[in-house]
Symmetry: C2
Subunit: 605 residues, 2 copies
């Protein structure tokens, strides 16, 4: 890491240094809990596994003191340092990057100070001291110099590993799901020398993307989407078309040397409490196998299992009907009457592609949707951290991720609401046109916009890349505030009594919670023990309380031993795979990992 | 590009600024040739296509003035600027990075000033102003936002291009040879929207590496080996094993969307002077095709066609004999008597692998060899520009390449001789052990070591990764200063009369000049018109004079219209493909490209 200069006389640096020094001294003292007084009364300490071996936000002095009292005995933090000069904004918020060590790890953090007290403090684990990643100065030598009669070449070793792992040698970790999440996590585990197999039902890495509807592209821009270790190159498009994402993942899997088993399904998994290992039944290309990994990661997509509504008459329908996840694209539906149930991202994309293929399309929007134009999202929301301009200003992907992570979820809305007020003004005419067409619009229940909706419920929005104009212009027909009451052989009847002729019905009705996968693969009992995944208890639609302050069950220990959930968008998969991989590595090396602050289960799905 | 601060009072910056200002003013004046007086009497101006549309070093004021008089009328340079603060070393050499524009291009340069006069000056073309590369801020958008009834997806466009190019649509450029050279150049041409096909006789990209002997790894370290656009990741090994290089090239070809035809051979090529295009006969997987590209690049390796010596009795030999390029590795030769003719890189690697497989190996070293230990090469020669430490110090690959390019070949030995004197001292004991074993050692005719030997003759050295100890210890038997006089059915007779029993003979006897490929593919007449490739007329072994000052025929116009040679190690292929791709793009766009200073042909091979 490049060293930066600290300026002894730079006022924000002096303030941050003094705080960090007090923190370090107090945490090492006989009364470490006093360090809570260095925080604002309502201050936040967010910890990504450095102290809690959990993903946890402590809210307020009392919660912070409890965590300190419980963890500092074994964490033993020391060597706190400012990484570079701190900054201070117009509102007197001092921001600083921090490094530190614990007994077993190196960490990095971010501090926001107001009037000498910490408003927010983020601590993250970077690496385990005894198991540093083999990169940069520690990268492997590759060629083994010298002469050696027992030499095995790189290729021979890779082939041997492929032949043995899952057969004569058990993987320590099994990842179910080979999308960007499973692959990125697999790369991090490989770097940490954790023997891992990734399985996926489709034949090749990237097929999860290739198999989606034809017009799909990433809706997030490239700066937000990098995988760990190999960033997209400088000529890569801003919004990657789905087949190009597929090719990237395929090559990534190859060059990162991941053990990826395509055309492989998990038919059942069961935890052996005594042996502390999973017994996993696998169908690999028709061959039945049993794997016995110590850790099991479900990385089948944060979206879980497709929700298909149960509508009277579905079985009588003579046309084609499928969930959006199975939609092949618009080509086969020229001049057909198409009904798309839903009003979020997939619904818009599919309606647009159907329209482009001269289908007659009606969108059934059941409830209100948040819409943001892609360009506006870039300009007013993401650009500061994830854009070419941010890169030119020296913002690395890693620092952008940590900056994003440094804002506790409880106060994230107050960071976002003003931005979305700007968005509403910026595109006022556009939103008025949509409203005039009858479209039900929202900006989230508290006006906090896209990302909060994504975090709370993983749905309820569309990043507009063109379909909204078609809706506003009536090119995509709209029925809003209704649903489908009844399906007939050649039509659907809506809840307002309207009957629409239909050759195709697409259920763009979203997905269930990820623990649905646990139910399917393991048992309903384990799914219920683990509880709902995603959401943080914001007490808004589809995210019932109580408040938990972090995403439920994601990337952190669950109530089922050795079971983990990994997923999210490319940004989250990239960033949180770091903490998940370190948690798994620590368990493999039998480092003590006392988990602080597990939340009880409040919801089953 | 990040902007750097210029400090108005920093003395080296003041000196460099003043020089650059004078240069700009003089070149724009009525007597631009006077700018030659800003150079030392024996100063150098090296130009990589920015002014000369050639790769050319002007040596001394008079040559510089001639170039200026001939080129500045159309080049019209302006907007000369220092890129960042200049530096000054203990010997009073001021170094500075420079940017400038010409009528058609943006350029970047490097200056060494001594007492106010330029000692060396490098100017390079970075991009054509009207055809900037689509990267960073200009990267493509990818997804086409909006609704469009004629939408083609990325995949459909790629498939259409693959179906049409070479069939209904002719490529503008054909690259023969799909190793790292052809692939890297193909990537740059794709970035410049030059329709290009790369052909290779082997099925898949990377197979040129996979097919080599088993123990092969890159002898150069990773920092030296990056491809354009996608650097190797931070976890990549220092010395990449050959099969891993193969995988990287295969994925690179895919994600850079190159039109790569494997299992394809060029059977004949002929230039149609009237139509100004090539008529190229192709065998693609058994199908005969004719391509008509405007530009033809031979990228079959700077090594040219294998040299196989003509030794009496070769046809009577009952064992196996092959050129090093066909050697499969040592496995098949356990307990066999093996004779390897040659004492350079391949000979050492092959002897070592045979020894590792328990063969009885004798190396026949005909003439002296330069040996440098790999670790020492890194530590004392390459490390300043290409190492993890250099990266940490902020040295980018691009700046390392330009720094390397900034040293004119005529004075390069004086930069290298002291380094190799250090090498000789550093490893004195090692070299003594080799001499004691009878090994014929050299450091180049003027003591300038590895890289000069590589530039002059592309041979005559071994980067020691382990075989030299086997030679010193007698594990690899050595016959030095002799050659093979006669081959018998089961033995070879050496020029000193010794007879060695032999089951295997490997001819590690190097390669001919690249224009041998022109003879093979086009005609002897064209090969002779073009003349010898590589070497710069140093008047040392295998590099006869007269002095030309640049590598013959490499990456620059030849005496055959529209015929180009591309090759070299990974560093050279990466860096010089930039200039070759710009030369080809300029011709495609019919930008005037008057070539200054073509050298006459002095040698045919």
């Amino acid at each position: 890491m490049t060293t930066h200069t600290l300026t002894a006389t730079h006022e924000p640096t002096v303030k941050a240094s003094s705080w960090i020094e007090q923190l370090g001294a107090t945490l090492s003292s006989d009364n470490p809990g006093n360090a809570a007084n260095l925080f604002e009364e309502q201050g936040f300490w967010r910890d990504l596994i450095a102290f809690t071996w959990n993903i946890k936000t402590l809210e307020g002095r009392s919660a912070i003191q409890d965590m300190i009292d419980a963890t500092m005995g074994y964490a033993r933090p020391h060597n706190w340092k400012l990484e570079q000069d701190a900054t201070e904004n117009d509102e007197g918020v001092v921001e600083a990057w921090v490094t530190f060590e614990t007994a077993v790890a190196r960490g990095r953090g971010h501090l926001r100070l107001r009037e000498g007290k910490a408003w927010t403090f983020l601590t993250t684990m970077v690496e385990l001291k005894d198991y540093p990643e083999k990169r940069n100065r520690l990268r492997p030598k590759g060629a083994e110099h010298g002469a050696n009669k027992n030499r095995k070449t790189w290729l021979e070793k890779r082939q041997q590993e492929e032949a043995e792992l899952g057969n004569s040698v058990q993987p320590y970790c099994l990842i179910i799901g080979g999308g960007q999440g499973g692959i990125g996590l697999g790369a991090r585990l490989r770097q940490l020398d954790v023997p891992t197999i990734i399985i996926d039902a489709l034949p090749k890495p990237g097929d999860t993307w290739r198999n989606r509807y034809k017009s799909l592209s990433l809706h997030d821009p490239i700066w937000y989407d990098h995988m760990p270790y190999i960033p997209f190159p400088e000529n890569w498009p801003v919004f990657t078309p789905k087949d190009k994402v597929g090719d990237w993942l395929e090559m990534y899997t190859k060059v990162m040397e991941l053990n990826y088993w395509g055309s492989t399904q998990c038919t059942h998994a069961q935890y052996d409490d005594e042996k502390q290992e999973w017994i996993v039944q696998i169908n690999r290309n028709g061959e039945q196998l049993t794997l016995k990994p110590k850790q099991l990661v479900i990385a089948t997509g944060m979206s879980g299992i497709p929700n298909i509504p149960d509508i009277p008459g579905m079985d009588t329908f003579k046309g084609e009907q499928h969930h959006s996840s199975k939609h092949p694209g618009g080509e086969a539906f020229k001049n057909k009457k198409c009904v798309v149930l839903g009003g979020n991202n997939s619904a818009h994309d599919i309606c647009c592609a159907l329209w482009e293929n001269d289908a007659d399309v009606t969108m059934i929007q059941r409830s209100s949707t948040h819409i943001i134009k892609s360009d506006t999202l870039m300009e007013l929301v993401l650009g500061g951290l994830y854009s070419e301009e941010a890169v030119e200003n020296g913002m690395t992907t890693y620092n952008a991720d940590l900056t994003f992570a440094s804002v506790p979820f409880q106060i994230m809305p107050q960071f976002h609401i003003p931005a979305y007020q700007q968005v509403a003004e910026h595109d006022a005419e556009f939103y008025q046109r949509l409203r005039d067409a009858g479209f039900l619009l929202d900006f989230g229940e508290d006006g906090s916009g896209l990302f909060m909706k994504y975090l709370r419920r993983g749905s309820g929005y569309y990043i507009d890349v063109g379909a909204s104009d078609l809706v506003a212009d009536g090119e995509i027909k709209l029925k809003a505030g209704v649903s489908i009451k009844q399906i007939n052989p050649h039509s659907v009847t809506l809840t307002d009594g309207t009957e629409l002729p239909a050759d195709l019905i697409v259920y763009a009705t979203g997905y269930g919670s990820m623990n649905g996968w646990a139910a399917k693969i393991i048992s309903q009992e384990v799914a219920d023990k683990v509880g709902k995944c995603w959401g943080m208890g914001s007490d808004t639609t589809k995210d019932p309380g109580p408040w938990e302050g972090e995403l439920r069950n994601m990337w952190k220990p669950t109530h089922q031993d050795a079971l983990w959930f990994h997923g999210g968008n490319l940004h989250q998969s990239r960033h949180y795979s770091q903490y998940l991989s370190l948690q798994i590595k620590a368990r493999m090396e039998q480092i003590e990992t006392p988990v602080y602050g597990m939340e009880p289960v409040h919801h089953l799905s």
